[in-house]
Symmetry: C2
Amino acid sequence: MIGRLNHVAIAVADLGKATQTYAGTLGAKVSKPHIVAEHGVTVVFVELPNTKIELLEPYGDSSPIAGFVEKNPAGGIHHLCYEVEDIFAARDRLKAEGARVLGDGEPKIGAHGKPVLFLHPKDFCGALIELEQA
Amino acid sequence: MIGRLNHVAIAVADLGKATQTYAGTLGAKVSKPHIVAEHGVTVVFVELPNTKIELLEPYGDSSPIAGFVEKNPAGGIHHLCYEVEDIFAARDRLKAEGARVLGDGEPKIGAHGKPVLFLHPKDFCGALIELEQA
C-alpha cells in the first residue's frame, strides 16, 4: 500500500537556525521559508536527491506543532509522510486492520494541497505517520 | 554535502509486531530479520521505492538502542541516515562548523559495512543523524 517516503518533518523553535544547520553545516539545498497559515506552520524544504526534509516552525496562535516544540525545545522529528495512491482505500484498509486514524477519519487537504490522513503513533511503532495521496 | 536519505531508523521493543505493522497494516515490502550482533540490533528492512525504513530491535546485553526502547516502549524514530561522498571531508567540515561528532570523531564501520559517523542531536534540530559514506 505505502509508496514513496514523501518527506520527514522536523519541528523546530527557530527556523532560521535550523535552515542554517541544513544549508550551512550539512550543505544541503534549501528553499525559502513558506508560511502555510491554514496549517499553522512556516516551512523550509530541504531538497535531497531522493526525498525531502521539511523543517517546520509554529506559525500563529494555534499551531498544531506548538505543543511539540514546547516539549522539545531543541526540535525533533515530528512525523513521516508516506505516499498512497488512493487515500480512501488506505483509510478503509487501516480501519479494517484496527489501526487508529486521527481526527474524524476523513481525509483533509494537507500542506501540499493533496488529501492527507494522520495515523496514531501508538499503532505505528511510536511514529506519527501522515499518508498523502500522491 | 549531504546526499540521499539512506534510511530512517525506527527502534522498537517487538520486531515481529513492528514487521506486521509495516508488512500487514501498511502493505510494504519487508525483508527477513537480520541479526547484526556487532551493532547490537536485529533489523528488518522496509523497502520503499525511494528509500528504506529500518526497524531495529535491541540484540544482546549491551545494545546501543536498549535505553531508547526502554524510554519509548511503543517505539520511536531513532535516527536519520544521510549519505555523503567522503566521510573524512564531512567530519572535518562538521568540526570546523563547531558541530559535535559523537564518540572519538573517527568513522566506524556501520551496519551496512560502510564508514559512518553519528552527530549530536542537539546540534541537528533534535534529531540523531548518521552520516554514511555511500
